[in-house]
Amino acid sequence: MTSIISFHSVSKHYQMGDTLVKAADDISMEIQPGEFVAIVGRSGSGKSTCMNIIGCLDVPTIGEYLLNGENVGTLNKNQLAEIRNRMLGFIFQQYNLLPKLTVLENVEVPLMYAGLSKAERRQKAMEALEMVELSDKLINMPNQLSGGQQQRVSIARALAGNPAIILADEPTGALDSKTSRDVLGLLQELQKSGHTVVLITHDNSIAVTAERIIRLEDGCVVYDGLSDAPEAVVISQSIMEGGTQS
């Protein structure tokens, strides 16, 4: 089976003034279709850079990123936009719903860019909202909903176009623990229904929801393995302690 996400020695460098920042430094990893992977790291570890590259919002400086076998680095802006629309569903920490659109319209946005007819859009959006149990809030505005409800709308928006990969960036960062559990439960459901789920977080207790953890530190992979292995947490903590001491 070919990997759906495949990093070959991916590096991302930024020039900030005189210093060269290596946000990602020689990262290689393979994620198979249907996996639930958490990319974990503290701020500055390179996890956001990884997410941007996986999400086709950015391209590597060095190395190759193959998405479903296709080298993303060679694509132009329009092709990247098309791939984001077709292959990826984004879930953000701040929900990022469009405040002037209703719940239903928000979920329809990616479908509209996919070129679906009005009727098709409506139907798919309704199905997605049904899955997150928000069928009764179709014509509400986002600011009329609670944080958990808004995040469920954004999950519905991410899955409405039935993309292969769901990319969740700190999806529980702004939620209380109970709603966080609901949201993580939804992500697990998505995995069961066949999606590849990539969860980006700094929080170990959230990361263990995934089957596999990829831990980043200073732009490098320091752990890649099962989430229930003792090293998944232990290593990280020793590094974190080391980090705070230095």
């Binding site: 999400g55 936009a81 984001r84 953000f92 469009l98 002037k100 860019y113």
Partner: protein, 398 residues
């Protein structure tokens, strides 16, 4: 994404900030309304002048003889002969002798009254009817009678409509009023066509020493023969004077054309000035769209993450700016009609002129087209800026 949906979204955005949208439109509204009123004003003026000239008769030519030294001259009999020779084109002729002598009724001096010496044909050339008494006749010319026909204004103002048989003093000579003309214009007043005295040209030339007869009004058999008639007179006069400078022939339609082209220049200048308001309005739209792009940076980032291509973002902003501008255009068109209607009333009341200010249908269509074009033109730069935003930066924007 369909255009219709983009327009729908743009309208939603505009409705959500009505005040700002309205203020943004204001420049376009004022510009479009101003252009429409000015164009309407031009049309009204042109029509008004056309009416005025038509009432004076577009089928007449005016001939002015300047002469050439003392050796060559043209008498009125020569002129009559020219008309007779070209009866195919030329119908009637009357000398017109302007008299500058003072006019007095009892002790009162009439300053604004125009006094002209004419022959008996003049009445039919000008289509002047007689409401009381009689018109001038051939015998009045031959005998140099000291008689005159007065306009309705004089009859009403000084004689209480009982002018016939009364005396009037012109240049110290007593004249008997033998007739009163029909009222010519709606509002009689000093200096109007109704404030006029017509007397035999022979009397005017000799008794009042108004000098030689140098002006003639000639009526064409038909408006269509204007060019032919003019050419015939030119030929005849050239054979006498052998110089083109010795005479001048003017037709009413030529004068109308001249006046029209003059008003057109004025209207064009005024339209250009009003057009500046459209330019300023366009810049206002560009400014507010740039602000809007900054405000909606995050929205743009989200849309891009969800798969919007640059073209979609671009279209969305251009259409929004075009819709704002087009709405401004529509309001401006409505305002233009309203102001034109009011201006028609005001001009009628203040200037005593019945001039209808109506924006032409073409100017409405053009105005709307221009407003949409301004929106697209000035929306392009902000839209380009929006479409070029980096989605990562845009998503991070607070």
């Amino acid at each position: 994404m369909k255009i219709g949906e983009s327009i729908h979204q743009a309208l939603k955005n505009i409705v959500s900030s009505k005040m700002r949208a309205f203020l943004t439109m204001l420049g376009i509204i004022i510009g479009i309304a101003a252009v429409m009123v000015i164009v309407g004003f031009g049309n009204g003026m042109e029509n008004y002048m056309k009416d005025q000239f038509e009432s004076m008769g577009t089928n007449t030519l005016t001939v002015t003889i300047n002469g050439r030294g003392s050796s060559r001259s043209v008498s009125e009999d020569d002129m009559y002969q020219i008309v007779e020779d070209n009866s195919e084109y030329l119908d009637k002729i009357s000398p017109t002798v302007s008299v500058s002598s003072t006019v007095k009724i009892d002790t009162e001096t009439l300053d604004s009254t125009s006094v002209t010496g004419v022959n008996e044909e003049y009445f039919s050339i000008k289509d002047y009817g007689i409401s009381d008494g009689r018109a001038l006749q051939y015998l009045d010319m031959v005998n140099r009678q000291r008689v005159c026909v007065v306009g309705a204004y004089i009859a009403q103002e000084y004689y209480a409509d009982d002018a016939v048989g009364q005396k009037i003093r012109i240049g110290g000579n007593k004249f008997t009023i033998i007739g009163v003309l029909n009222q010519q214009v709606d509002e009689m007043e000093e200096g109007s066509t109704d404030d006029m005295i017509l007397l035999p040209y022979t009397t005017a030339a000799r008794v009042l020493s108004a000098g030689t007869i140098s002006n003639y009004t000639i009526m064409l058999t038909s408006e269509d023969f204007e060019t032919d008639g003019k050419a015939a007179i030119e030929d005849a006069l050239y054979s006498i004077f052998e110089s083109e400078d010795a005479y001048r022939i003017t037709s009413m339609s030529e004068m109308l054309e001249m006046m029209t082209s003059m008003t057109n220049i004025i209207i064009a200048i005024m339209t250009a000035i009003a057009g500046i308001s459209l330019l300023v309005g366009g810049i206002g739209i560009m400014n507010i769209m740039l602000v809007s792009v900054t405000e909606r940076t995050r929205e743009i980032g989200i849309r891009k993450a969800l798969g919007a291509k640059e073209r979609f973002i671009m279209t969305q902003f251009v259409i929004e700016s075009a819709v704002i501008s087009a709405m401004g255009g529509l309001i401006g068109i409505a305002a233009g009609y309203g102001i034109s209607a009011i201006a028609t009333q005001v001009v009628g009341a203040v200037l005593d002129v019945s001039m209808t200010i109506v924006p032409s249908a073409a100017s409405v269509v053009i105005a709307f087209g221009i407003s949409v074009a301004i929106g697209i033109l000035f929306g392009y730069l902000p839209a380009k800026k929006a479409s070029r935003l980096n989605p990562i930066d845009a998503l991070r924007y607070e």
